[in-house]
């Protein structure tokens, strides 16, 4: 489905609201990950507000598409998106990482049953998504129409289990499976190509019989098109390699791996003093929201 400009602007604006919510919840939590959630906000927005077949009022609706977040540590973006989609009230975002909260430090299905799975330890999400796609294909064959989305980080592709899952998905020709790799080039210890080179990434997926789409992970239209075109790929799973900027939206945070695992207030202080980090981030995001609108007006 092609997007009209008006809808693109709406989604851009929604993504910005989600970024604001991410920062607000991280400030309240006082711990957690910042760079990945900001970088994935556009993709989550398109997924939940455009692509996904779901019903936040009936999270157990059997015909829904499934979303498996493999790199659980970016859950602030998952929670913020789900709150904006009205799975639960926005106010609950302030309980992130607190005792008794639905919003555990890493997603736990027992606390937030609308989740498809719990995650945190890296690299097992793709396997679970493969299992879901396989189960549906077992029952419905090539007409299986529920889409299974697996959201992966690039860092976790260093783990062997990802490739075990990729191999099986290729073998089983899981047309109903769509993985998204957040290619932001950072992980907690540094830049991926220095820690453990992943390139040529698209060739690796092709070698396991996957259909590969590479996109700009901040371009709403490209994201929506990629999800749409993945649906029409026959006899293969699809992986969308989304090139993203970690920390997207707060220029002092962007591309700096030191923002991988720290919240505003505990990040590197060479650009912004710790006590200013939260305020600066929120101000930038809110201003950027204004800019996006004005550019398209």
């Amino acid at each position: 489905m092609e997007l009209i400009d008006e809808r693109i602007i709406e989604l851009q604006s929604k993504a910005n609201d989600i970024r604001v919510s991410i920062i607000e919840s991280l400030i309240e939590a006082g711990s957690g990950h910042t760079a990945g959630p900001l970088g994935m906000a556009d993709i989550f927005t398109v997924l939940y507000f455009h692509t996904l077949k779901h019903n936040p009022k009936k999270p157990e609706w059997p015909e829904r598409d499934r979303v498996v977040l493999s790199n659980g540590h970016i859950c602030p973006v998952l929670y913020a998106t789900m709150a904006h989609a009205e799975y639960f009230p926005l106010e609950e975002l302030k309980t992130l990482r607190k005792f008794g909260s639905k919003l555990q430090g890493h997603p736990h299905r027992e606390f937030l049953p609308a989740l498809e799975t719990s995650s945190g330890p890296l690299a097992s999400g793709l396997s679970q998504a493969v299992g879901m796609a396989l189960a549906d294909k077992m029952d419905h064959g090539l007409t299986a129409s529920r889409r299974i989305y697996a959201l992966l980080s690039d860092g976790e592709l260093e783990s062997g289990q990802i490739w075990e899952a990729a191999m099986l998905a290729g073998k089983e020709k899981l047309h109903n499976l769509c993985a998204v790799v957040d290619r932001n080039n950072i992980q907690i210890d540094g830049y991926t190509e220095e820690i453990m080179p992943l390139e040529s990434l698209s060739d690796k997926w092709r070698a396991w019989n996957w259909h590969v789409i590479e996109i700009d992970g901040h371009n709403i239209e490209e994201i929506a098109d990629a999800f749409a075109s993945a649906k029409s790929v026959f006899g293969k799973p699809t992986v969308i390699i989304a090139h993203t900027i970690p920390g997207r939206g707060v220029k002092e945070f962007e591309r700096d791996f030191r923002w991988h695992g720290n919240p505003p207030g505990k990040g590197p202080t060479d650009m912004i003093p710790a006590e200013e980090q939260g305020r600066v981030a929120l101000k930038e995001l809110r201003t950027l929201g204004g800019k996006i609108k004005s550019e398209h007006e």
């Binding site: 499934r66 498996v68 736990h108 299905r109 027992e110 498809e116 799975t117 719990s118 995650s119 945190g120 330890p121 097992s124 396997s127 679970q128 998504a129 493969v130 299992g131 879901m132 796609a133 396989l134 189960a135 549906d136 077992m138 062997g160 289990q161 075990e164 899952a165 191999m167 099986l168 089983e172």
Partner: protein, 326 residues
Amino acid sequence: MLNLDLKLNTKLFDKDVEQVPIRQGFGEGLVLAGSQNQQVVGLCADLTESTKMNLFAEKFPQRFVQMGVAEQNLASVASGMAAMGKIPFISSYAMFSPGRNWEQIRTTICYNNQPVKIAGSHAGISVGPDGGTHQAIEDIAIMRVIPNMVVISPCDSIEARKATLASVETGTPVYIRLAREKTPVMTSEKTSFVIGKAQIFWQGTNAKVGIIATGALLYKALQAAKELHEKGIETEVMNLATIKPLDEKAVIALANRTGKIVTVEEHQIRGGMGSAVAECLAQHKPVPMRFVGVDDKFGQSGTPEELIEHYGMGTKSIIKAVNELV
């Protein structure tokens, strides 16, 4: 004497007692489970015949998934299938599943409380000639420590078949421990099996020691009890097939009746079934105990009989442990 109420195999102590591998019971049970419930699926990591999942794969090829040598994927794919309503059984050697994929079992299966059934075959030291790398003698410990997990260690092939069928209904993760070698059939079709219920297989009037055994070594325990009885020492022998949840009531009652307990398992003493019994008794009925099992060592190649003797789990070792307490 043998508890006749349980309708055990009457030829139990005959020289030509029927011997069947415990894993065979799993294979047959899985076929039955598949026939009774369309949601049952089977996944195997390249050991289909060894784990006897081949019986299911032949009968229900559409519901069988060959995973290749990829045990971590095996566990997590099963979790995903369970999330879609399937009841997956996964099988490999116990050393690799749950040995290699423990974290995936913890996080993707148990933390999500998905009803995946893990069949660990070739457990125990009696795997024999393959040597120490393939002898899983830590699996009970690493499975019983995870919340939501049920742990069953059947004593023979018939009990394994019943345990496999019963595990379909629990709605929880289940670990079923299986052995490779042919072992004596102690139960019969008519012997009852309920997950979480221990049974007294050997009764003794005014028994001085309670022997609690799990898995195929139960046979050695029964032989020991018979030999001791002939020497005038009375014992009771419990088959503790379900290690978790522990039948605390039955264990405490046995300790109350006998005042002394010997546990017998083909597993490391540390963390195994005996430890589970001790955790219970230390709190509710502290009694002197002895633990028959592997004492903090790795296995090696040999015949099952040689290894059971060498590592101190044979009839003689059980009798010795009982005599220490009497």
